[in-house]
């Protein structure tokens, strides 16, 4: 199988704070990897390293065949990586001055020089796919949180990424809107998209993930199939974490 992400002994610091410690992780094409852990454990930082939103200090990172050097090194591959990797943020980060459709058309037109006609057709297709084809000409602020996040997913998909990163995509949503976003993600996974998902939605992780990774204080302490990690965690920190989050 093709390795989409390969991390070898990756270390990252925020000043003196050691936030990622000797991370070794590979993600195969078509795999859905869910990363869980307490807040501040470094799980968001981990996926933000994949598309270079965070730099790392030492180790090795290869994304879809492009090696991204540590801080201070050659960052030439960054542009290529970002074209291949889509990202969905906790706060959606839609562009408020553009209509929903224009949000989706922007990157294909600017980065891939897609024509207006092609970009428009792509945007309409993707909006239908995430179930909000009728909202194309509205502005993001006129949409509900769940709809906004679905637009954000469509916006990332418009670049036809090989890998999608999800950074707590449902954490800023009202409870009744979480389902509609998870449904879209579930569909994506079914269609074979390679995904790295940071989430607190344990139900989603159990159902959709091929592999679950538990991070504690910047270290991967447990990794395995969802049923193994959730039902039979080996590490006592994983056990403690799961008993806290699954208790309710």
């Amino acid at each position: 199988m093709t390795q989409i992400v390969q991390m070898k002994n990756m270390n990252k610091y925020f000043g003196k704070l050691h936030v990622l410690k000797d991370i070794n992780l590979t993600v195969e094409a078509g795999e859905v990897v869910v990363i869980i852990g307490a807040s501040g454990s470094g799980k968001s930082t981990l996926i933000r390293c994949v598309n270079g939103l965070e730099e790392y200090e030492s180790g090795k990172l290869v994304v879809d065949g492009n090696e991204l050097a540590p801080k201070g090194g050659n960052q030439k591959s960054l542009a290529a990586i970002r074209k291949e990797v889509g990202m969905v943020f906790q706060q959606f980060n839609l562009f408020p001055h553009l209509t929903v459709k224009r949000n989706i058309m922007l990157a294909p037109m600017k980065v891939k020089n897609a024509s207006q006609v092609i970009a428009n057709a792509t945007a309409e297709r993707l909006l239908n796919r995430v179930g909000i084809g009728n909202q194309a000409n509205k502005y993001p602020s006129q949409l509900s949180g769940g709809q906004q996040q679905r637009v954000a997913i469509a916006r990332a998909l418009a670049m036809e990424p090989r890998l999608m990163l999800f950074d707590e995509p449902t954490s800023a949503l009202d409870p009744e809107m979480i389902g509609e976003v998870l449904d879209v993600m579930r569909e994506l996974a079914k269609e074979g998209m390679t995904m790295m998902v940071v989430t607190h939605e344990m139900g989603f992780a159990r159902e959709v993930a091929d592999r679950v990774i538990y991070i504690h204080e910047g270290q991967i302490v447990e990794e395995g199939k969802p049923q193994d990690v959730f039902d039979n965690p080996q590490n006592e920190r994983t056990q403690a974490f799961l008993s806290r989050v699954l208790a309710h």
């Binding site: 889509g86 990202m87 408020p96 001055h97």
Partner: protein
Amino acid sequence: MEFQFQFDWQAAINSIPYLLKGVPYTLLISFGGLAIGFVLGIIFGLLSINKKWFLRWPATIYIEIFRGTPILVQVLFIFYGLPDLIGNPIDPLAAGIAAIALNSGAYISEVVRGGVQSIDRGQTEAGLSLGLSRSQTFWSIIWPQAFRRMIPPLGNQGIVSIKDTSLFSVIGVGELVRQGQVYIANTFTAFEVYFVVACLYLMITLSLSLLLRLLERRGLASV
């Protein structure tokens, strides 16, 4: 002796044609200066938030000098001081436009800086994550949003600069105040004439306010 003052409407009305000759100068200096000031403001405002210190420092020095000294001193320096250096006299109109440009440019730099910095970091991250370059991200995502936020403070600066041109009567530009002074020297109707001068300034600044209000409303409607 009993003192009685009567507002002489006739004198006020008579002064209007003469005073109106100053309006084009006032408008030319303020809007000409502001146009250049806007360009300076974008350049130095963006430089002042650059990561590289050798770009940031010159911008900061420029901003601090022109914000920190009176515009009257600036225009006197340009008009009376600079000719000593360059060996040629400077046209008072050009000196006035230069003073407004440099002075408003410093304030507009701060407006630009504030506007750009007020845009959430997540917008930049979203742009970069989609594969846009830094400059594409800035000009198609950050700048349009920042500019909208800059409209009210830019309007403020426009009004301040229009009023600042009144100081340039000291270098002999035939703008509104200068016209008033010359007229009063012949008619001794200071009260009436300065009243009309004030009204003319008010008409200019109120028109600008109105225009900006309309702009803001249109800007907001599309966010």
